[in-house]
């Protein structure tokens, strides 16, 4: 069966858990997206911007020194870090901005945690001359001040969010409040495969370019399919973008890597799939970090892009159905992996992507014989230099 179903469910997950005020808009958006994806003119336009503006296709790079270090794995890196704005996020913001234009929306809002989705949104708003308002937790603004400058330089208004934990989840609450208030002229450009239907589906479709390219590239190099796919999972858009194209390739095993923060058995992690339970947040039913009373718990990760207590509903479904497995690596393991990639390949990964890389040593110890793996290198590490400096070169 092709998911989502007609109500936006992936098994028991997904759906539309939003105020009634937004329902008509979500139904319109779904109809518009359905039309657009069948419209050759839309596909041509999306493809045009991906190629000429974002820098697709990205390379599938054989990481030979890293592979030698890991011994049992032949590692390919899908180089989303080489895209314009430095991460996979722009695949989705380009897709959604084209939908917003088709719907005649003039004002774009978005939430951001680390600032990467905010920058990718501000970028496409500048490209098309649309008003851009970015909600960002006051705590995150302090931690990611350079991305705030980038967004402002691109012409976006960055609104500090002072409510709740002052991080990504609260920024998303505030963006939803703006959306519900300005529903007639405003398009909410969600940054990951979460939120109410049709967002998880739409974002997956826009990010699936990662997997379709990687599959083609791997087949042409190796004349076979990879044994493993590995990607980090916060909301899970880069992982779903990679995984989805391989969904029907049953022998290809998929591993999503969540942030274990200080440790999966401490209160300071962001492993919604590993440690959470089914819950409803920000418009969808999925896995959620919550307490015994159904209150959402704060997440923790060294990587602001993974610092979210929920996850996309399709990942919850992949986990439940067994199509993918989910692991978690700690802040320190991610830092070590970032250093390892920098020193073996001369590539500095984003700390988010470093979580996927960190899982490779576990995988390398587990496999029998030599196995091939595609890792989604979802972003570059420039934005994390402040964190790296404090922790590795104080």
């Amino acid at each position: 069966m092709n998911f989502p179903d007609k109500n936006g469910h992936y098994g028991q997950f997904g759906g539309r858990f939003v105020p009634e005020t937004l329902m008509a808009l979500l139904i319109d958006l779904e109809a518009e997206f359905k039309k657009a994806r069948k419209d050759p003119a839309f596909r041509k336009e999306f493809d045009f911007y991906l190629r000429t503006y974002a820098g697709r296709p990205t390379m599938l790079y054989a990481a030979e020194r890293l592979s030698r270090h890991l011994k049992t794995l032949k590692v390919y890196l899908k180089r989303e870090d080489l895209l314009h704005t430095g991460a996979h996020k722009v695949n989705n913001t380009l897709g959604q901005i084209l939908i917003a234009r088709r719907m005649g929306k003039k004002r774009i809002i978005a939430e951001t945690g680390a600032g990467q989705h905010g920058v990718a949104t501000a970028t496409v708003c500048a490209l098309f001359g649309l008003t851009c308002v970015i909600y960002m937790g006051a705590e995150d603004i302090k931690r990611q001040s350079l991305n705030v400058v980038r967004m402002r330089l691109l012409g976006a208004t960055v609104v500090p969010v002072e409510s709740g934990t002052k991080t990504l989840k609260d920024a998303m609450n505030e963006a939803i409040r703006d959306w519900v208030t300005n529903v007639s002229d405003t398009f909410y450009l969600i940054g990951t495969v979460a939120g109410p239907h049709p967002y998880p589906w739409m974002v997956r479709e826009f990010q699936s370019v990662i997997g379709h390219e990687a599959r083609r590239q791997f087949l042409s190099k190796e004349k076979r399919l990879p044994d493993y796919l590995v990607a980090c999972v916060g909301g899970g858009s880069n992982a779903m973008g990679l995984f989805h194209a391989f969904y029907k390739d049953a022998p290809v095993r998929m591993v999503g890597v969540e942030a274990a923060g200080h440790g999966i058995d401490t209160p300071f992690h962001a492993a919604a799939l590993g440690k959470g339970s089914p819950g409803v947040l920000h418009g969808c039913k999925s896995a959620l970090l919550q307490d015994d009373n159904g209150q959402v718990m704060p997440a923790h990760s060294i990587s602001a892009g993974l610092d979210y207590p929920g996850v996309g509903p399709e990942h919850a479904y992949y986990k439940e159905s067994g199509r993918a497995v989910y692991a978690a690596v700690t802040d320190n393991e991610a830092l070590d992996a970032a250093r390892l990639l920098a020193r073996t390949e001369g590539i500095i990964p984003a700390l988010e992507s470093a979580h996927a890389l960190a899982y490779l040593s576990t995988l390398a110890a587990k496999v029998k014989g030599k196995k091939s793996v595609i890792v989604c290198l979802s972003g570059r590490g420039d934005k994390d230099m402040g964190t790296i400096k404090d922790l590795l070169f104080p």
């Binding site: 105020p19 009634e20 005020t21 519900v180 208030t181 819950g279 959620l288 159904g294 959402v296």
Partner: protein, 264 residues
């Protein structure tokens, strides 16, 4: 018969409208909430909307958000609120609807929640992030326990959805006066009246109006075309301003009495 249905029958017979105050349970604490519910009833409230605090209240403006966080800091949870309703039931038959985001209810379990709420004496439930499309399970469990599930209609709700919502709603229909969050901006009576006429064409269930209603004058005007008026943020603000003071009950009682008189 459910206390909410009885109330609307009695009000219709008397040609009166319902005044429905909202307060957040646990702000400033549950003992005060208990007193406030009784004070509101005494002041003329017809139905009490009791808010269950949630960590991520995305449909609420700053006033109710802040109340929610204060209540959570006190450790308020759904089970305690059900116990509170149980205590109120020993002394009062005022109809009570719980307003909760879906996650605390879902986490409790739809079936377990419907059973526990009904046993405690709750009459209805209002869940702002549970549109009718996702509510099959809760509706079934609530119906089995005689618990009303109050659904929303909004200025953006198209006619086809109106019918589906009207068919599903029990207790009453909650019309959101303004597209937006609670307490954020003033509802305009003229816009509302037109929409209420549309809703009345598809249903004869009671329709109550909330969001953006803060003064007796405004409540009176809106009540003309509605079956009831809900006032939340203005009351919650007043409670916070006088929390911990001896005259809290008097302030809340006076304001509620003025609203009740205006609506009735």
């Amino acid at each position: 018969m459910n206390r909410i249905d009885q109330k609307f029958m009695a009000l219709r017979k008397a040609n009166k409208k319902a005044f429905i105050p909202y307060i957040t349970a646990g702000d400033p604490d549950l003992a005060v909430t208990e007193q406030l519910v009784l004070a509101l009833e005494k002041a003329g409230a017809d139905i009490i909307e009791l808010g269950v605090p949630f960590s991520d209240p995305m449909a609420d403006g700053p006033v109710i958000q802040a109340a929610s966080f204060r209540a959570l800091e006190k450790g308020t949870n759904l089970r305690q609120i059900l116990d509170l309703v149980g205590r109120i039931r020993r002394v009062s038959d005022v109809p009570i609807a719980l307003m909760s985001y879906y996650n605390p209810v879902f986490h409790f379990g739809d079936q377990a929640f419907a059973a526990a709420a009904s046993a405690a004496g709750v009459d209805g439930v209002i869940i702002p992030d549970l549109p009718v499309d996702e509510a099959d399970v809760l509706r079934r469990e609530a119906a089995a326990k005689g618990l009303a599930v109050i659904f929303f209609m909004a200025p953006t709700t198209p006619p086809a959805r109106m019918q589906a919502i009207a068919d599903a709603a029990t207790g009453f229909i909650y019309y959101v006066a303004v597209a937006g969050v609670t307490g954020a901006r003033r509802a305009e009576a003229s816009d509302i009246a037109q929409k209420l006429r549309q809703i009345k064409q598809v249903t004869d269930k009671p329709v109550c109006v909330g969001f953006g209603v803060s003064t007796p004058a405004q409540a009176q005007e809106i009540a003309r075309g509605a079956d009831g008026v809900i006032v939340g943020s203005a009351l919650v603000r007043l409670i916070h301003e006088h929390a911990g003071q001896a005259d809290l009950g008097a302030h809340v009682g006076n304001f509620a009495a003025a609203l009740a008189a205006a609506v009735h």
